[in-house]
Symmetry: C2
Subunit: 464 residues, 2 copies
């Protein structure tokens, strides 16, 4: 029975209606939440499965605005677009909150193998990297991982370009990201401390396409700042084949760097709660993207799904109990900057934030539901889970995060839930030129919307 229900993914929902009904009946017979809320949530879920609204939002965002790199003219266009979209959807309240951050610019980037022969390789600067001031040339030294680099004698690295080879594994939950991302974020610190002139990593990505993956890195002020860049996976393979044959000289040209500050905004919209208007259910995604692609998966989809879910609660017959607040966060990519600003601006009010959750893991189908709430809320969340279970979602654990932009608030004690998306292919596209609208399956987006709208509605009506 349980297996049968797990198989009730969207394409089969009609065929599985019997078991979905059974599931619903079962929940009603033992539910702690009022039946009318369960029934409204089911109606919202089914309407979500039929709705094009999330698709329309992400289609328009990625087309009208395109890439939304923090600190660019398109960042500001994105803010204006989002505010207008919220207003057009008829949210009860729409407003901006300023977010200021250091401005990092990517002007140009290229690389080539110089010896043993001249070949162009595809490279991207890591976010936050210093530039190379023309072409920086150096011999490449191979390291299996950042750990191997950390253990290496400085004499091996001094005056050379340290290369970190570690490849990311593909999994549904992105578990392969953690073990390799240290090479990206800390590679320049470790290599710089040993006297390297630059660090180049194999992209943190699971594809085999010639798209380098960007993403943030950090310096330590006490260590010389050296340029940091990522090669696409096929270019990393090529470099490694050449290194097996002998010495390799690489030329790296990165015109990038920090230059002043920039002010953008968190863009916020609310559906006022009918029962407890002063309490907040916080949802959202991040409005910024990297510059390379149009940020369809990261995180246009998340903004679109959560916006659409909240917009569906504007109808008189499905008003939320608490106020549902959608935040399109500024500059997540360069360090959750909009999120930290939010936590600071709303720190005094966080006790009124009931639960928070972000959608920021692409546009795959939701496959798992986790909670990070107090024990006394769990019976109501088990009711809520039964509503989304027929969408092909399994019950996860009790220690959910809430998404990257929820971290600052979770650290201050906010409760969370997570609707985990299938991320099997997410890191094929993540932080590359190839993160574009064609990578989104509109049907999967409908399933996301169905899960979000029903879960947010029920959360808003839960008794404390």
């Amino acid at each position: 029975m349980k297996l049968l229900k797990l198989m009730c993914a969207v394409p089969f929902l009609v065929a599985c209606s019997e078991s979905a009904e059974q599931s619903t009946d079962a929940s009603q017979s033992s539910s702690v939440m009022p039946v009318e809320h369960i029934q409204t949530a089911e109606r919202l879920r089914d309407a979500g499965l039929q709705s094009d609204l999330a698709w329309e939002i992400v289609e328009d965002l990625t087309t009208e605005v395109g890439p939304r790199m923090p600190g660019t003219e398109a960042d500001l266009r994105g803010v204006a677009w989002m505010k207008q979209r919220f207003e057009d959807l008829g949210f009860d309240r729409v407003y901006l909150e300023p977010v200021t951050y250091p401005l990092w610019k990517r002007q140009s980037e290229s690389a080539r193998i110089i010896a043993p022969n001249d070949q162009v390789v595809r490279v991207t600067a890591l976010g936050g990297s210093v530039g190379t001031d023309g072409e920086l040339r150096g011999e490449v030294v191979f390291f299996e991982s950042i750990d191997e680099l950390a253990q290496a004698d400085s004499s091996l690295v001094e005056g050379k370009i340290a290369y970190i080879s570690k490849r990311m594994e593909k999994t549904i939950d992105g578990a392969g990201y953690g073990p390799v991302v240290a090479g990206r974020s800390a590679g320049a610190r470790v290599a710089g401390e040993k006297g390297a002139i630059a660090v180049v990593i194999r992209s943190v990505g699971t594809d085999s396409d010639r798209f380098p993956h960007t993403g943030m890195m950090r310096y330590d002020e006490s260590i010389p700042k050296i340029p940091a860049a990522a090669l696409s996976n096929p270019d990393a393979d090529q470099l490694e084949r050449l290194l097996e044959r002998g010495a390799v000289e690489l030329g790296l040209s990165l015109d990038v760097g920090f230059t002043g500050e920039f002010q953008s905004h968190n863009v916020i919209a609310e559906v006022t709660g009918s029962r407890w208007p002063d309490e907040i259910v916080l949802i959202g995604g991040h409005l910024d993207s990297w510059d390379l692609g149009t940020g369809a998966l990261d995180d246009g989809a998340g903004v679109a799904v959560t916006t659409a879910a909240a917009a569906m609660l504007l109808n008189e017959d499905s008003r939320p109990g608490r106020t549902v607040r959608v935040v399109a966060f500024a500059n997540e990519e360069q360090g959750l900057i909009g999120a930290y600003h939010y936590a600071e601006a709303h720190g005094d009010d966080l006790e009124n934030h009931f639960v928070g959750s972000e959608s920021d893991f692409g546009a795959g189908r939701v496959w798992r539901f986790d909670t990070g709430v107090s024990e006394d809320l769990l019976p109501q969340y088990e009711d809520a889970f039964k509503v989304i279970q027929p969408l092909g979602i399994i019950r996860g654990g009790l220690e959910s995060g809430g998404g990257p932009d929820i971290i600052p608030m979770k650290n201050l004690g906010m409760q969370t839930f997570r609707l985990s998306q299938d991320g099997t292919d997410y890191f094929d596209y993540h932080h590359t030129e190839n993160d574009t609208l064609d990578k989104i399956d509109p049907e999967a987006l409908k399933q996301n919307l169905a899960a979000w709208v029903s879960m947010v509605y029920l959360t808003s009506h839960m008794e404390r």
Copy 2:
């Protein structure tokens, strides 16, 4: 029985050995070719399935030489590498024949949407295009196909950038290529005649990745020469979504063009025939590639498979009857230039060319065998087909081409056969940055080698 044999693809060959044996027995009982030739061909086929030689060749070519754009320093390095490789393999004769052609250079290329908003789009100049002399800006006019453009009134196009939208369909045999490639080769002529300032096409490719596909185009001396470029498929989608919303201004910067002449070489190796040394079985691939990728599929694989097949015939117990000549053709990409030179240089000797065939359709498994030979040879080719049938190959028709570089000789009357490869994914990578070694399946390459070595061996021993 026949179905069973068709299922005997490489991974299952051992399990299918019984039916393969039956097939062989059947052919022997009715074969017109001597049993010892059939048995040697079967032994070569099975050795091919175990051989890494083709993989080693293409790995080394794409790594040591990299991209092999005609007219570059790497073109000459490729010629030297090929000659050395032929010599190292111990061919009976290795020599060069000069090939001269107009030199077309790609210095840089970029494009952006200027209005309604500023967005970078991924573009590549088509081979043979003139440059833009800085950034060329113009309004984009949409055409479904080159036919629609051809029928359009000039007033619609004058002073604007004509855009051709037609998308390529994916098929096993590349049948989708023909219907769209006219837009690439002739778009600038048709648009130029109507007063357009440039032509931009949707890439002739079946992927949805942000890799534009290059390839040749031609001007007519009587028509103004306008720049010609291709957008990647996702960028073409983006342009079309913007065009649905209103006017689009595009900026195109192509620093490309012809500049003088260049001399490269066809690189040729022979295994001298044991029975009719003056008669030639002509096989090969093209050594050049486009500059964007490393030409692993197009046509490193073809060079590697045919070289490896010929090299296997150097053993004393598998000498060919006729001389097997492998040609690594120069500059196929810009108009079969090495092939036309070969036809001219060897025109007087073409009657001694028994049969010719090229491998130039990627690195997929051979799935079909076609012949283009005189009727009296067919009984021997049916024998030969039975040897390769257990590799999962079906018998095609009697009107084969022999591959692009065989066209000039076929036009002069040369007989041909074709070992057609599964090209389902070929046009995902064709003429892009993404044509790299990781796209080759070493097991599929072994199956290719098995088919080629047995077919070439038997062809060399056929009675006229």
